[in-house]
Subunit: 310 residues, 3 copies
């Protein structure tokens, strides 16, 4: 396996690399059963979260992962100062490069910023979500979660429901699942369905079509209420009624033994009813726990000097 510096998207990963990250997440997750959940693997390495877009969950997940590997976290508050002084992203990266941090974990509302940063630093850059482009660690944790839940992933059917068009989660997760041999469908309002759906992805228009397709996993996307200026659907309650996982649909999912996933944080009463949160086949909390294990595995995979040892 050729050593790699950055994790920018799923598309550029080899099958071997995907397998390496998923396989190594297993022993890291085993660690969580112990009272001390920490290993000295990255002692003395520094991880800098560079979050231009707020995200408590993803950021904390990376910080917990880094902490459990004994890395040091350098806080760098992009909101409060230099950016308001008009400093450009590249000037910030030059500074971080001169500071010689080992990892930069980037989130930015503009697609491609992590790639731009990666080209301008020797640090390992991990994309924690960029615009509508990619969210590779989310995809890896989703894949890991499905793999540990079902006996074999080949041919499994996963339907992704919601605002596919503006979702980096849909893009990255859909891709990794297909790479692993699963079948993927999209259910979205017409205004939120991308124009360039890949041929091998099934397009569904209604929940009736969804049931007819017989998925084993329903992946609900978050409605990005704060992102959309122009309304893509009439109202929140209308969305819930037509595209959300209502109590009725949950009852049917339960009857058919289907799993439910969601990248979090959820909008109760919008993309799902409250009762999904206690549904016995909801994998949502498992996704959160696996997020830490998978991110530990990614940090381990990209560790400085990994190429030399291999």
């Amino acid at each position: 396996m050729t050593p790699r510096k950055d994790l920018l998207d799923i598309a550029s990963l080899t099958d071997e690399e995907i397998q390496f990250v998923l396989d190594n997440a297993v022993p890291f997750k085993d660690l969580f059963k112990r009272s001390v959940k920490k290993v000295p693997t990255l002692k003395g390495q520094t991880v800098l979260p560079l979050f231009y877009e707020a995200s408590t969950r993803t950021r904390s997940s990376f910080e917990v992962a880094a902490t459990r590997l004994s890395a040091d976290i350098i806080q760098f508050d992009v909101d409060s100062s230099s950016v308001t002084k008009g400093e450009s992203v590249l000037d910030t990266v030059e500074t971080l490069e001169a500071m010689k941090v080992d990892y930069i974990v980037v989130r930015h509302k503009q697609s491609g910023i992590p790639n731009l940063i990666a080209r301008n630093t020797r640090a390992s850059v991990i994309n924690a979500g960029d615009g509508f482009h990619a969210h590779p660690t989310q995809a890896l944790l989703d894949a890991f979660t499905i793999k540990e839940t079902v006996s074999s992933v080949i041919g499994r059917k996963v339907v992704i429901v919601g605002d596919i068009k503006h979702s980096r989660v849909a893009r990255s997760t859909s891709l990794i699942l297909r790479r692993l041999g699963m079948k993927v469908a999209y259910l979205a309002p017409g205004s939120l369905m991308p124009r360039d759906v890949p041929d091998e992805v099934k397009v569904l228009n209604t929940w009736d079509e969804l049931w007819a397709w017989q998925p084993e996993i329903i992946y609900l996307l978050r409605v990005q209420m704060e992102r959309q200026r122009e309304p893509f659907f009439p109202s929140v309650s209308e969305y819930h009624k037509v595209y959300g996982m209502t109590d009725d649909r949950l009852a049917r999912a339960r009857a058919e033994g289907l799993y439910v996933m969601h990248p979090g944080p959820v909008n109760r009463g919008v993309e799902l009813t409250d009762n999904v949160m206690t549904y016995e086949r909801s994998l949502i909390n498992q996704q959160v726990e696996n997020g830490i294990a998978v991110r530990m595995s990614v940090l381990y995979w990209l560790r400085p000097g990994a190429g030399v040892e291999a």
Copy 2:
């Protein structure tokens, strides 16, 4: 002593538990005389401050306490992201539960939120102040401070002055002092005196009545100027004149050898004159130092696996 998971209020503590926390704070405080003030007790454990209400002092006190026990602190910024996305407290707790943090230190402006959280996580929950309800670590540090200052606490008289009605500090501290055998009085404007003052608490209306009661310790509350929409007293200078510790009252306190306490941060010129800050019997800074020792003791008491060892 039955092992306990959470510290939510003083009322639910046994005498033995109160004693345990106060006793164990002593060796932790001794540590502060050394150049390296750190012990490896909680190495590999994670502490997550979940502050829905800002508090630099209490939060820092907990973070210093956790650091001195070698725990890792996970920063989780509730203001900036998921909460503005409308995520509910319980959804956040589910996430933290899945992340398997060991301690959650909660502050919330609504009473009962720490209890709600504690019921929904295996982590140890420590209430760092909830609404008008409780602030148990403040009460414990106040009790510790008095115990180390006076030879014996039984029968000692403490008067609490200020906005008793809206004060979780008054509620928790008043309770612990009475539990330890002290006598407590309240002095407050009529509008800021609670209706349900316990029978054993003496109600005072003026400083003349206060002097007549002959307290040994005067505990001044902070005027929560940012909390009150409706004015409970005519003006700040009027409050100072009628209920504050003025220079004249400080002179009398000094003449009588009384101690002064305050939970911080102080409003100079409101609940107290500047000169209290340099008063030789002010215990205010001692309270801050003891806050760290007592919080270390609380973290130690609630440590994972403490029940197994005992």
Copy 3:
């Protein structure tokens, strides 16, 4: 060398102390070539950044320096809580004193605040920039950068260009360079030239005069666009044309082999053209890297008990 508690400005340092800090930064910088850039020197010591004025770069530089010395960093958010509650600086310092932190790193928009704090705490206080007064660690890193770049510093000519009047960087850096035997000149618009320029500093009015003076290093100051209410110059593009390092001036600097420095963050198109960022004799990134080494050296120099050992 008499042990010292604080670093408040350059003026109060002895030559021996300046030399000590610069000399000891060398081995710390060597550390950065290693995979693990960390030493246990300040294990168990606590560093508290007290930033009343936002500064991502300087704050991160101190945090990385402290982390590489294995110190613990205590986050203390002055913006979000106690200050908005009207707590005064001195009350905060009393709290920090009671918490027994070992180092306080202060930035404040008002001159003299670090001195005030230093007098009221046993902690080592490091001035990270106060008003128009001083920025001693910037001066030390600037001196270190020049020393490692040119063979001998005696008689070297450095011109500082920009808003000298409101610049604590100009004040501190100009002083240390002269202390080390260099020659300093100022180029500034009349409205931004201080009235009390020291006799030994050459005053220049135009870039023609600058070239005629034959400097070896051009030190560009940041235009503090957010600080100035009243316009000291007609417009940003006018400033760039008359006082900035334009492409033409960069071409001449290149032809003459001159070095360019800047404290960061830069305003591209204002005090310098974009192309300075890739200029082969720009020392800007070297300044950032050296900032960490010099700040490690300062923390080491002021370490608790340093006097006892010496």
